[in-house]
């Protein structure tokens, strides 16, 4: 186990290094933050730009900038935003909880929706509830998230007036963003649950459980579900990355003060430190989630535990 964790940690470091390197390099290929900071207002001279680059440390060669960024990470210092000079760590400290909260809420909502639906569809395989659930799940895949989000705002905030259209305040402000993300996640998860459930239900131990006289509920939710969970958990690990990607847009529509907004604004403003910081932290989280997924495997399936 210790060896496993060590190996995963090394992998994680490698991944984070690679990710930051790619991002840091790529972002420097287009657009000069000095110009972005000047915004085009006033009589900008090359000297002014030079001054700003100097102040931001941009005149140094790329590898020096990158190394000093890495050096900073080691002591938990992500640098300061080019825009406004706020420490990146402060910005992330504000934004990370919002994003994680949103991501996990949507994941939970999605699981709460997709598991019973998927199980129900599997049990009724080929009959109309199955068809209906499958078609609905495809419909869920057919709309871009921003569009769903706007529709929801129109319905719940403007027509019904029961939910705040944006911002992160009370629990009610979670409803729409989480639901938007969850609907899209659910669409794929339902199919996944259904498929793996079908696979499990055809196993002999399910018949054995039934031959013991266990109630359907126990058979499905105790004996079958846990065995079907592995593909779902794997997928959730894989999904997390795209979940964060989707969050960029959902955060924008719902004006959610999270990492997506932060990173997006950082790209638009060529705010290198903020972008590097957010991507590093996000990558770390994704790697972490996948590590958790691996650990979860062991909890779910003892066969994996011993290896």
């Amino acid at each position: 186990m210790a060896g496993f964790i060590l190996k995963r940690l090394l992998q994680a470091i490698f991944v984070v290094l690679a990710v930051t390197l790619i991002v840091s390099f790529a972002i420097r290929l287009s657009g000069d933050p000095a110009v972005m900071l000047m915004g085009g207002g006033g009589n900008v001279t090359e000297q002014d730009l030079q001054n700003i680059r100097q102040a931001l440390g941009l005149e140094r060669p790329f590898y020096v900038q990158y190394l000093s960024f890495l050096q900073g990470i080691l002591v938990g210092d992500f640098g300061r935003s080019f825009m406004g000079g706020t420490p990146v760590s402060t910005l992330i400290a504000h934004a990370l909880p919002s994003t994680l909260l949103l991501a996990f809420t949507s994941l939970l909502v999605s699981i709460a929706l997709s598991v019973p639906l998927g199980v129900y569809a599997a049990v009724n395989r080929g009959r109309w509830p199955d068809q209906l659930i499958r078609i609905l799940s495809l419909v869920g895949l057919s709309f871009p998230n921003f569009w769903l989000a706007i529709m929801m705002v129109l319905l719940f905030s403007i027509v019904l007036g029961i939910l705040p259209p944006s911002g992160m305040e009370g629990p009610e402000s979670f409803v729409m963003p989480a639901l938007t993300m969850a609907i899209i996640l659910t669409a794929t998860n339902v199919r996944l649950v259904r498929t793996s459930m079908l696979e499990t239900l055809s196993q002999q131990y399910i018949m054995v459980a039934r031959s013991k006289g266990l109630a359907d509920r126990v058979v499905l939710y105790k004996h079958a579900l846990r065995n079907s969970a592995i593909p779902l958990v794997t997928y959730i690990g894989l999904q997390f990355g795209s979940l964060i990607g989707g969050i960029v847009i959902v955060e924008r529509v719902f004006n959610w003060p999270g990492m997506g907004t932060l990173a997006f604004d950082a790209i638009s403003g060529r705010d290198y430190p903020v972008l590097q910081g957010t991507i590093t932290v996000l990558a770390l989280f994704i790697v972490l989630i996948n590590l958790l997924v691996d650990i979860a495997y062991g909890l779910i399936d003892p066969r994996i535990r011993t290896e």
Partner: protein, 627 residues
Amino acid sequence: MSDTAAKPASVHAPLLSVRSLSVEFGSRDSAFRAVKEVSFDVMPGRTLAVVGESGSGKSVTSLAIMRLTDYTGGRIAGGEVLFRRSEQETLDLVKASDSTLREIRGNDIAMIFQEPMTSLNPVFTIGNQISETLTLHEGLNARDARLRAKELLQKVRLPDADKLLDRYPHQLSGGMRQRVMIAMALACNPKLLIADEPTTALDVTIQAQILNIIRDLQQEMGTAVIFITHDMGVVAEMADDVVVMWKGDKVEQGPVREIFAAPQHPYTRALLSAVPRLGSLKGQPLPKRTPVIVMDGGVPKQVGETHVQNTADYAKPILQVDKLTTRFDVGKTFFGRVTHRVHAVEEVSFDIYPGETLALVGESGSGKSTIGRTLQQLIEPTGGTVRFDGRDMAAMSQGERRRLRQEIQYIFQDPFASLDPRHTVGYSIAEPIIVHGLIKDRKAIDRRVQELLEQVGLQPQHAKRYPHEFSGGQRQRVCIARALASDPKLIIADESVSALDVSIQAQIVNLLMELQERRRLSYLFITHDMAVVEKISHRVAVMYLGQIVEIGTRQAVFENPQHSYTRKLLSAVPIADPQRERAETRIEGEIPSPVRPVGQEPAIHRMREVEPGHWVAIEADQLRGAA
């Protein structure tokens, strides 16, 4: 015959009475009737064996009794299943409500399934799965249920029951799992135990153990047993009464001795004629083909002839294996250093001569397949030399090695798994021809494929079908045709008939022997079924833990077994003869593991020659592990 005619002498009324039970699958308009109006009784405390070929409806009948067919898309189309719950209460399970059924399942009627590997839920502990039944039906609390579970495990003679409760299924061997299944089934002292091929997937010695346990427990608890199998040897050992099923119908029923002594229905006769009987070639030096009766659409037909297999030519061996060693690295440290090795094959030597069949027997994991795969170049040997036609394999060029793959062919155990499901069988058979460039012309290839299909007893038009459209026996014929396609000299048949029904098995064995005669083929016949070995082989090698412990002519090994392990193997084979005294020899213990830490090499047995050509390993301490 009438249902009551065969009732054995018993003062009791039947515990379970199945009357005109029919089960259907599929939609109502295109229903497939898997069980057709089957009737039989089960008496308290007695064992009823249900036999019949694969697909005859044995499992469906047993599932239908517990109404578990509800969950497989099946439908009980008619009949009743009367179960005497108590002296006063007799229930028709076909009409019983779901909640009543749940009370009965696992409590009054329990079931053991065929595959011990997949019968236990991999994610829950053994203890959890046994206690589940107890808390449900007996209302025990967690602690009491655990205590009971432990007792049950002891009852099925599992050592270290306490620790076992917290183990997971994958940490147990197949035999142990099957014993757990039995413990689980017996948890609530059921009145009726349904055992659906409970030992088919197990080794002969383990099978003997399991059969003993079931028999003992049945005597102790007075449970009635429905025992489903297709192994007539097991029937002879276990059953009081027998029901024979064929294509969904019950064709015969009676006390076990009567059925064996005087089978009435042609199918029963066909079945019995196909059963290989250990010892039937006693005193005969060469293997012998015997005719089999097969059912040709309801009419029995005798195929084949009696023929002594005098094909071997002992002038010069075609294959010489010398000190072959194959090991697998398992268990690595974090830095990739190997910590453990599987010593699958250790310094094994033998020869095979043209036209000869060498049988390689031994229990699961003893290294039989590894030898076969090494010879077929699917695995790199760790040491030793292999000569084919006098040439050293290790010294061969790429091209020569490739040709070797044409001259040596391998037939796998599972004919279904060894055919690519996405290609027609015609394609699969043609592939070796194409790959080795034996025939260039497309048309000629097609003709050759058709020829081969006919040779193995299939029809030319079958070439266009996919593997799943064949029965198990037909698929194995396809595999044989495929092996023959490249015109080999040596065929390695790895458990090639183990998965087949006895009657089909007999046909395939005959086919192999016929082909041997016609084409002077040599066979390395790998199996653990001693009865088949007796029928087919010229010589036998017995393997134990990666080494050959006894090798000699079939007659020598079978009639004069020297090694204790050979004897044990022979005694574990169930004999299809109910007249015989039931074996009282108790076989205990698991097979030791070939996995060893690096550096701890196993000792190599020294062999001594007991009679010309009959070599036996010297047993240092009488092989305590095996005895």
